[in-house]
């Protein structure tokens, strides 16, 4: 302590505050009070005096200012000796040099906290360790009396929206003063949120935009925005999310269940959940801020243990927000917080699109916590569309956020982790990256979720995203473009670090073999010091190696010696880098390459590539029959060689050539196994236990394959490894967020396992040491396969486990004698038999707690067939609707299924279905089917269980969903892909057209077309129709939703009616015109060419022109705007409602009629195949003609009903679609006035 004035300097006699540093002058600076202000004056020092990093000569200091003189950073405090007795005034001034130097990011946060405290508001940006990027003070809930009118308006928004009377209400609202003298700073953020929401509500209430914002909104909003430093008024991320919530119970947690929106617009479920979960997401990440600072400080201080601890906090938080908070955006209608995607699309989805041109948007890329993480993790670049937008939006951040993001870039945690080569740190750091960017991490989940939401949204008319400008129409598949962008962005985020693998060492294991020869291997992998922090239920991916015998055969089939050097493609280099000792390899000897390659079974893509490359007919026929999975690479190569293909090309070609081995055959992927162990909570795992079932089968004897013993690559590799007991393994931990024990350890758990499906449950049991009951039902074939396990015995002895084993091929059972489980007499049975026997007891366990039951969690792990049988049996134990009970179980998150593929040979057996069967199954009455990869699935029940919600499933019902399925990487995720088998009902039959062809006349001239192509054109058309039916059903389904709070869902409110009118207009323009003028016309042209050389190719155009010229058609198309005017005038709701019904029924019926006509044609193909032209050419032409006739009938019918309602075209003509930014009818942005 010193009294003022005080001199600061190096001279012990001259200075009151002595700074021992050569950089400090003897008398350096002076502190004094002048006019009640604290003033710092530089006394002509050599090296200068700095305040907040700026050199000063004289400066008035305010709290929070940072003084720096030489190496010293000075913090200071003003003490009033009258007011405090805590500090002894005689105590001497204490100073120490800044050592270690203060972390830049820490300085920013502390300065922000101090500044916000001092000024009494948080206008320069929320930033604190306690609340991260959220306000320290919860958002204000009211204005002073002078601005009460705004408060009152906010409660009325939903009602005004419902009746479409919102604009009138705002036109009549008084213009309130928002200048500082009328509205103090502390109300600015509330004003900004309120006025922003109001303005957007005004803009987007009706599908056609207003000419301008009313004075009552524009003037105060502009003033408030300018005061906040925003040149163009715009809704920011803060307005919409961070300052738009309140706690129901102020003392309760900041969590969805305890929050409400401060300024809801529609106040519907979609708005509430979407906004509040986004806010809670940021809240959940709050501790990450402090952890990032700790991590960087640990790097500066060279303290690996502290760095590990900080990274673990980040890892834990990322997992938490990804797996607990984000999934609350749940499209499942039975979920706790259901969020209907269509409702979202028509209300919340576009609400944030800026009103004024050039204004920033509150898109997800404006999240400050994401920017901070990107800076901390050293995102590579921002060059993509979304990346550039992200940089642009960050330019609008408040000061504290900008400073923080910049400061976080100053210390590199990545480099430290790389340089120290510490395997624990590396493991944890990679886990953080994976939790942030991985397929199952936050960005991966976001991408899949965004894809689902956008696909549904765009199909019901939304054509723009809140952020970057993605616009498009039905056929453009805009959601694919957005998705592609998100993939690029995720890649941009990935910093240049080594591959995300951990290395383990296998220990000797034991193998249990049954009489049949089937074996199971119990294996342990030592992962000590690898920083493996996994949760019970997680899987580990193992990189297998092919055995010597398979490699030898393949080398021989390639006519090589094995010593040839092969250059790797980038994909291969990345894969090989995951193997220890091969980090930098870009060339491998062929033999080594083959050890790492996926040699069996042959995948579909490899099979097709080989067809293209070699043109060997025998192989093409195998692939056409979908029998390639009965082959291994070496026997395919032998077949190709016999067919004349030069197999040596594969290893001679350069890596960039199509026929290079690395371009044809992919590397062996990580094969997943459930981890059958669990580390103590919060500690890293030292051992991973696995239970591996041997896979062996004989390929089928068919015209396209021959019988031969085949082995599973990974299971046999692991068996070899467990026999050796010291091999190093490349591993990857794969989290399974949907397969976790309940958070509450007291909740009972019921587990059903078949064979090696017991593995994850061994992990569960290791982790669940609490009071909760554990029941395990295990299905195996014979007593020899029952492996005694000390962990099971111990759990049972401790009263934590009840194990019940069903032997399917032996009359035996398992009993527990208090110490051990042992085989004794019993009867053969299956797990589903046991379920039926113990039905009452199980029901008690499974019944919801609210219903008097015990609310147990249920888990199933085994083959698809096993899982299906267990679920089927479970529906039987429920009094009442068992399937509905299961749906509820899934919605509650109480049912986890972990299905694995047990390859039992090719599944060509089973029913065959026709495209015409498939296409009919897309309604509630017919049921829902879809095709993926040539197989047909009944998804009628699955749509209630789908995590992405029922809309996405319905959207793809009745058609081939392969592309959509792959787009979201479902095929690459074994845990998802394997579940498909539970719903498979057969295959699509492949029609045979031989080499038939015909001549067609198109705009490109005369062409010869294979008959198969003509069939494909018909099928594409049917799928297009089915897709449109699905989209339209979802679109009009909006009328049954609760769109604003307090409405009766059965009422067709004006707000909903306008969307019906809009959807109908879109149906005419975006669906029907393209369908008729484009797709149907092409179909007709091609069919006419094949079937009738005497048909004038123009007759379709003539018929079409005649139809368009009919007054009926004109009336239908030109009267939509009349109906819209009626709706906006608001005085004839009866007629508007009637017209809406006419539109909905008419549009749906037209698509049905079209499909029915076209299916007649498709069926003709299915019956006659190669002879269809000769035998049923007339049927095809009639079917195409009927399709056009159906459109004609539609116009006639609709015109009649329109006239019946007394609606006319009233001269307005058909509205031209404005050059819009994509929102249905929502024209261009408003020009900014003045």
């Amino acid at each position: 302590m010193c009294t003022l004035p005080a001199t600061l300097g190096r001279d012990t006699r001259a200075a009151a505050v002595v700074l021992d540093d050569g950089m400090v002058s003897r008398r350096h600076a002076r502190l004094e009070i002048v006019d009640d202000q604290l003033v710092l004056t530089d006394l002509g020092s050599s090296n200068g005096t700095y305040v907040n990093d700026a050199r000063v000569t004289r400066r008035v200091l305010v709290p929070g200012d940072r003084l720096r003189i030489g190496r010293y950073e000075l913090t200071w405090m003003f003490l009033d000796p009258e007011a405090t007795g805590l500090i002894d005034p005689r105590q001497l001034t204490m100073l120490r040099p800044v050592a270690p130097p203060r972390l830049p990011a820490r300085r920013v946060v502390e300065a922000a906290e101090a500044h916000n405290r001092a000024v009494g508001h948080e206008l320069d940006g929320f930033l604190s360790l306690a609340h991260g990027f959220l306000p320290v003070e919860p958002p204000l809930t009211a204005f002073p009396d002078s601005h009460r009118a705004w408060d009152e308006m906010s409660g009325r928004l939903p009602g005004l929206f419902r009746r479409l009377s919102l604009r009138r209400a705002f036109d009549a609202m008084p213009v309130l003063d928002a200048r500082p003298e009328a509205l103090p700073d502390r109300y600015l953020l509330r004003a900004s949120t309120l006025l922003g929401v109001f303005a957007h509500a005004y803009q987007y209430m009706a599908t056609d935009p207003p000419a301008a914002l009313p004075e009552s909104l524009l003037r105060p909003w502009t003033t408030v925005s300018r005061r906040l430093g925003k040149e163009i008024p715009a809704v920011s991320y803060i307005d919409l999310f961070f300052y738009n919530w309140r706690l129901r119970y102020p003392a309760g947690p900041r969590a969805l269940d305890n929050m409400d929106l401060l300024v809801p617009t529609w106040d519907n479920a979609a708005e509430r959940v979407f906004y509040l979960v986004t806010t809670e997401f940021a809240m959940g990440l709050t501790p990450v801020l402090g952890a990032m600072l700790d991590a960087q400080e640990a790097v500066v201080a060279d303290d690996p243990a502290a760095l590990e601890a900080a990274l673990l906090v980040i890892l834990d938080r990322l997992r938490h927000v990804t797996q607990a908070i984000y999934p609350q955006i749940d499209p499942n209608p039975r979920g706790r917080h259901p969020l209907d995607q269509v409702l979202w699309a028509k209300t919340v989805g576009t609400a944030g699109v800026p009103i004024f041109d050039g204004a920033p948007s509150p898109s997800g890329t404006a999240q400050p916590q994401i920017h901070a993480l990107d800076a901390f993790l050293e995102r590579r670049d921002y060059d993509s569309l979304v990346g550039r937008q992200s940089t642009y939006l960050a330019g609008f951040f408040p000061r504290h956020w900008q400073e923080l993001v910049a400061a976080l870039r100053e210390v590199s945690v990545r480099r430290y982790v790389e340089d120290t080569r510490n395997s624990t740190l590396r493991g944890v750091y990679n886990a953080v990256l994976d939790a942030y960017l991985g397929d199952r991490g936050w960005m991966g989940l976001h991408r899949v979720k965004a894809y689902g939401f956008l696909e549904v949204a765009f199909k019901v008319g939304r054509q723009v995203t809140t952020g970057a400008r993605f616009t498009g129409l039905f056929k453009d598949r805009t959601w694919d473009k957005v998705d592609g962008e998100l993939a690029v962005v995720r890649d941009e985020r990935r910093p240049p670090v080594g591959p995300p693998v951990v290395f383990g060492t296998a220990r000797r294991g034991r193998v249990v073999t049954a009489e049949s020869g089937a074996w199971t291997c119990h294996l342990e992998i030592d992962v000590t010091g690898q920083g493996v922090h996994h949760l019970p239920g997680d899987r580990v991916g193992v990189l297998a190696e092919n055995d010597d015998e398979l490699v030898r055969r393949t080398v021989a089939a390639l006519q090589a010696t094995g010593d040839e050097l092969v250059r790797l493609t980038p994909e291969w280099r990345a894969a090989v880098a995951c193997r220890e000792g091969y980090g930098e390899a870009d060339v491998l000897p062929l033999r080594t390459l083959l050890r790492f390659a996926r040699l069996r079974p042959i995948g579909r893509e490899v099979a097709k590539r080989l067809v293209t490359l070699t043109a060997v007919g025998a192989w093409r026929r195998v692939v056409d029959a979908r029998m390639e999975d009965q082959w291994e690479l070496w026997d395919v190569l032998n077949l190709l060689h016999a067919g004349g293909y030069d197999v040596t090309r594969l290893w001679k070609a350069d890596p960039h050539q199509d026929d290079a081995f690395c371009a044809v055959v992919p590397p062996e992927p990580f094969r997943l196994y459930s981890i059958a162990s669990a580390p103590p909570p919060g500690e890293p795992a030292s051992t991973l236990r696995l239970v591996v079932a041997g896979l062996g089968y004989t390929s089928a004897r068919t015209p396209w394959s021959y019988p031969r013993e085949r082995q599973g690559t990974a299971s046999h590799f692991l068996r070899r490894v467990s026999a050796e007991g010291r091999r190093r393994l490349s591993l990857r931990i794969v989290s399974t967020p949907r397969f976790r024990p309940p958070a509450d350890p007291a909740t009972p758990v019921v587990m059903f396992a078949a064979g090696s499906g017991i593995a994850p449950f061994l992990g569960f049991l290791a982790a669940r040491t609490g009071p909760g009951e554990n029941r395990l039902y295990l299905g195996i074939r014979t007593p020899e396969e029952f492996a005694e396990r000390a962990d099971l015995d111990a759990a049972a002895a401790g009263g934590r486990l009840r194990l019940s084993v069903a032997f399917s091929r032996a009359d035996a059972a398992i009993g527990f004698d208090g110490r051990r489980h042992a085989v004794r007499d019993g009867r053969r049975r299956r797990v589903d038999d046991v379920i039926r026997v113990e039905a009452d007891e199980l029901w008690e366990l499974l019944r919801p707690t609210g219903d008097g039951g015990r609310g147990a969690y249920v888990y199933v792990c085994g083959s698809a067939r096993f899982a299906a049988s267990v679920l089927q049996a479970l529906t039987g134990i429920v009094p009442g609707d068992g399937r509905e009970f299961l749906r509820g179980l899934v919605a509650d998150g109480r049912l986890g299924t972990d299905v694995f593929t047990t390859y039992l040979g090719h599944a060509q057996q089973g029913p065959r279905f026709e495209v015409s069967d498939l296409a009919r199954h897309n309604t509630a009455e017919t049921g829902y089917w879809m095709a993926i990869g040539g197989a047909v699935f009944d998804v009628g029940e699955f749509l209630h269980l789908h995590i992405g919600g029922p809309h996405i499933i319905r959207n793809h019902a009745g058609l081939d969903a392969t592309a959509a399925y792959r787009k979201v990487l479902h095929h690459a995720h074994a845990e998802i892909d394997a579940q498909l088998a539970m719903y498979q009902i057969g295959h699509l039959r492949r029609l045979s057209f031989g080499a038939r062809w015909g001549v067609v006349l198109t705009e490109e001239g005369l062409r010869a077309l294979p008959l198969e192509e003509l069939f494909r054109a018909w099928v594409r058309f049917v799928y297009l129709l089915a897709g449109m039916e699905n989209a339209l059903t979802a679109d009009y389904g909006f009328t049954t939703a609760v769109t604003t709070s307090g409405e009766d869902p059965r009422e067709l409110t004006p707000f909903k009616a306008q969307y019906v009118v809009e959807a109908h207009r879109r149906f005419l323009v975006s669906y029907l015109d393209g369908l008729v003028h484009d797709d149907l016309r092409t179909l007709w042209q091609l069919t006419a060419g094949f079937c009738d050389p005497h048909l004038d190719i123009r007759s379709f155009d003539t018929d079409l022109a005649a139809m368009s010229a009919r007054p009926d058609t004109g009336l239908v198309r030109d009267s939509v705007s009349s109906v819209r005017r009626l709706l906006l005038a608001g005085d004839d709701s009866g007629r508007v409602t009637a017209m809406c019904r006419v539109y909905m029924e008419g549009d749906v019926r037209l698509l049905r009629d079209l499909k029915s006509a076209v299916l007649d044609g498709v069926r003709a193909f299915e019956i006659h195949e190669a002879d269809v032209v000769e035998r049923a050419g007339a049927t095809l032409l009639t079917a195409a003609g009927d399709a056009l006739a159906a459109v004609s009938a539609y116009y006639r019918r609709l015109a009649e009903q329109t006239r019946g309602q007394g609606v006319s075209a009233d001269g307005g003509g058909e509205e031209t679609i404005p050059d819009d930014r994509g929102m249905p009818g929502h024209g261009g942005p408003l020009p900014l006035p003045g």
Partner: protein, 147 residues
């Protein structure tokens, strides 16, 4: 082995200004799909393929719609065009920037350009004088059959 060793030394040719009928006659008599074309000074001018002759007879979309719009009309126009073309000169159909080889070129060099560009018969030209043609059949005969 050189091009001159295996080429066909007396190729079928016509001159600029000849009628398309004459070209068709040459094609049918010589059973060669690719005619060589010389200019009025006897210098090599280019080549003319039977494919181009046939293509010239095929009607486009607008031709068909102008004549009735059915496939049957398209087939009729094809025949009519053949008749109409017969008396015209070949000049517009001649490909004048045809790839050529030199008699002293290596065979493999010729083979590569033929496969790469889908040429069935390539002119062998020495200082603007046509000295022969080299066909894929010539290559197969010389390199495989006589090996």
């Amino acid at each position: 082995m050189l091009v001159s060793d295996v080429m066909t030394a007396f190729p079928a040719y016509i001159r600029l200004g000849a009628t398309i009928r004459r070209a068709a006659e040459m094609v049918s008599v010589s059973e060669v799909g690719q005619l060589m074309v010389l200019d009025h000074d006897g210098r090599f001018a280019g080549s003319l393929s039977e494919e181009d002759l046939v293509r010239a007879m095929l009607p486009g979309f607008d031709d068909v719609t102008a004549a009735g719009g059915t496939l049957a009309d398209a087939f009729r126009i094809f025949l009519e065009r053949g008749r109409a073309l017969a008396d015209r000169v070949v000049d517009p159909l001649v490909v004048r920037d045809a790839a050529t080889v030199h008699p002293a070129d290596e065979l493999a060099r010729a083979a590569i350009v033929m496969i790469d560009r889908g040429i069935r018969r390539i002119p062998v030209v020495d200082d603007r004088t046509l000295v022969g043609t080299l066909s894929r059949a010539d290559l197969c005969r010389a390199v495989i059959y006589h090996s």
